[in-house]
Structures are given as C-alpha cells and as structure tokens.
Symmetry: C2
Subunit: 261 residues, 2 copies
Amino acid sequence: MRNIRIIVAYDGTDLAGYQKQPDDKGLTVQGCLEYGLSKICNEPIQIYGASRTDAGVHAKFQVCTFQTSGSIPVENIPRAMIAHIPKDIVVLEALEIPLDWKPRWNIYGKEYVYTIHNQLIANPLTKRYHWHVKKPLNIDLMQAAGNELLGTHDFTTLKGTNSTPADPVKTIIGIHVEAEGSHVTISVVGDGFLYHMVRNIAGLLVDVGLGRRKVEDIKGYLAAKDRRVIGKTAPAQGLCLEEIFFTEERQQEVLQNKYSI
Amino acid sequence: MRNIRIIVAYDGTDLAGYQKQPDDKGLTVQGCLEYGLSKICNEPIQIYGASRTDAGVHAKFQVCTFQTSGSIPVENIPRAMIAHIPKDIVVLEALEIPLDWKPRWNIYGKEYVYTIHNQLIANPLTKRYHWHVKKPLNIDLMQAAGNELLGTHDFTTLKGTNSTPADPVKTIIGIHVEAEGSHVTISVVGDGFLYHMVRNIAGLLVDVGLGRRKVEDIKGYLAAKDRRVIGKTAPAQGLCLEEIFFTEERQQEVLQNKYSI
C-alpha cells in the first residue's frame, strides 16, 4: 500500500464545490478526482482533502491524499488524469509520502486570496474570478480592519450560518490588503478557517472600505459571537485557495515577502 | 443626429464572434450591442466596428460607432447597457464624436496580444484565455521569427483560408515576444490585419519556438503567398484585441514602452 499526495488546481465556476455530493447536485472536485484516480489505479479510490471549498470557489493549490495498492508511477499521475476529469480540474503534481501523512494534520497553515474589481464598470475578462464592487474602496481602512482580526479569536461571528459544528477558535497570522489600479486583493493566512469565514472577512472589510462600518467596531463584532451583527457574505467567485503550507519555513517565507511579518 | 463612439470589452468564449449572424448561430458582439443600444436609444441602431474578431476571441478594447437621434446622455450609456446585454460584453466608455468619424478610417493601428501557457501541465484558472503548449518554447527564436515579419509585406501566406477578399498588403510595426515564467505573450502592432492573421503569426512563431520551423525560412514562406506552406492556426481563445490607437502619439507611446521601438 502506498500513500500519495496530489496538488490540485481548479476553476470552481462550474463545479458544485470540493465535497462529494449526490450526482444530481453537479460535479464536485472530490467526485471527479476519485472517479479519475479509480480509473488510473484500477481500484476504488477514496481521497482526503485539506479544504472543503464551496461551490464557485477556485483553488491554485488544493491538497489531497489517497492510498492505493496499484502500481502507477506517481510521476505519470498528472498526465494520466487529464483524460478522465473535466478540464476545470488539473492535477499539478503527485508525490509518494509516508503512510501516516494526512492533509488535515500535517499542514502549518493556508493562504486564501479574495479578489475584487473596484471600478464603476465591470471587467468581462476577469468576472469569473472577482467580486465587482462599483464604489471606491478605502484600502487603508480595509487594512486597518484586517489588523483587528489578527491573532487568536473565537470567530463565531464570521462563521457561515447552518454550518456543521467546528471549533470556532482560529488564529489569523496575516492579512494583507493591496490595490493595483482597480484590482484589489485581500490575502489571509491562518491556521484554519471556518465555513464561509474568508468570504465573511471579505464582506466585512469591503463594508469598512465603503464607509458602511467602522474599524473600531470590529472588536465588538467578534465579541458578540453572532453572525447577524455583520453584513453579507462576499460572493464565492472572488475566492481562491492560494496555497497550503507543508512546512513552517515556507509559511514564514510567504508571510515575510507578502505580509511583511 | 449624433455620432457616438463606444469602447467595448468582451470575453469571447461563449460568443459567436463580433459580426452579426443569423440568430441560430449564437450571440454576437454586434448583435448584442445593437439590441441593447436600440433599447436604450428607443430606435433601431446599427453599429460600425473597427475589428471583426472571430468566435472565441476576446477584446479589452473594441471600438464601434453609431448614429442616433435619441437624447440619452453619453455618460449614461455604459451603465444603461448593463441590463440589456450579457455580462460577457461591457461598454466601458461612450463619447460623442464628429459626424464624419468612422472607426475604419480614423485609427492609426491596432494591438493584438496572443497568450500561451507554456508548461507540461495545464492551468485551469486561465484556460479560457490561453493556448496550452506543453513543450518548452525558445523565446529568443520566436522573437527572431517575429522580426522577420516586421515591415510592409504581402501577407497572403498568413491569411485564413476561405476568407473574403481583402488587400493582403499590411504593415506590421512591432512584434514583442515575452515570457514571465510559464506565461508567454506575443504582442503585435500593425496598421491592419487579415482574417486569422494574428492567429497564424502565433502558430508560426510557436512552430519556430518548438524547433519545428526555422527563422531563415520565414522570408520564403511570405514570398510563397500560399497559406499551405505554414502550419496550424493557433486557437482562438489565446487571442485578445488589446487596443486600437486613435492617435499617432498613443501608438508611439505603446511602441516605445513595450516594443522598445
């Protein structure tokens, strides 16, 4: 038996999210990968993923593991999968790893990037990958709001309603808000995230950037532990799972380069 | 009567090209714009465009003009159109111009950019906007091949088969091939382009970059005036109409900054 780790990228637009669902709910990342891997390994394959991204959310770097008694060389897996899964999903890399390596236990943190097109008129060429916010955003206020979320908190306020129970205490290690012309990104590194948490952070920071909410109220929102005290969840298409950190060194490198931490 | 010039951007993936077609051929840029403009101007509108982009080709900057006796303020046109056309097409700007201004006569040149993803494994997040070329490209050879096309030539060899008759003599003012990691772009500025010409240039340069054809044979290909002496036309989704130059100054600025001419 071998344990294999794959790195996967996908355009989530036409997918029903990461997690496998009944067939009539649409294609899922997990469903497509398990189908393709079962074909190329010649046995039923079950995968374990690091992040359950929602319908419409993208990933440049999702991580999954699976065990197989099949003999396919790992270096052939990315190309072999092309014929069996939709072009929206790509296996970038496959590597044999120790049998006890599990994605949920062996990662140091994750980075998500939320993208906004901040201009009166929409951009048809990037509309699948951003939230179109028409009114001008104050980037400095958004960064100040992000700073209020840094550290270890009970993030119940930023958790999606109707989500499965999970420990609401998470640590946000870095938040970086950046504007390049009309292209605004909110990058977040944390040790883990609750259902809808990054999209709720994006919605909250945009509310601050538009002057609808104040930086000084954020501590109070967190203390309320109540989803209803904040505004709308930002739409799925702006969100991308950017990277999952396997080593502390790699996480530190990203934090230093992009977040100046 | 007023003459109005609009700048339009579109994602061509799900469109049947610029030029109006019978309804059962799919949505076209011209068809959608004329429908929307007729609605907001309250009279039948016919538009005149600068470039007939093919099905699947994108545009950041297409130019069209139309005349109207309606009274809508030009500054309201971009937003008013949003409700009447698919989200794939966006009117970025509208401006009233002299009655004798026509897009085909009053422009100095155009820039097209062809994008390639040059890596063994595909990128699902940009697949709508590039040609995926798996084997490594030699960028220096591609630039050298591009240099052979500069100047005024009879470009019959690079013209699509079955295209309508057009003067095959065109002037290519600049070609710039650039690689940023796996992202390769071929940028071309010319006074005009034949049907499929930029896609045939991209196909030819990629053949050179892969070592399938030689830089020193290009002059002979042009002299042959025969489409059959070159290889395949590069796929539509990699092509984008980048800009149309209304003034010589703007064209010179782009040529100096990006093409070092």
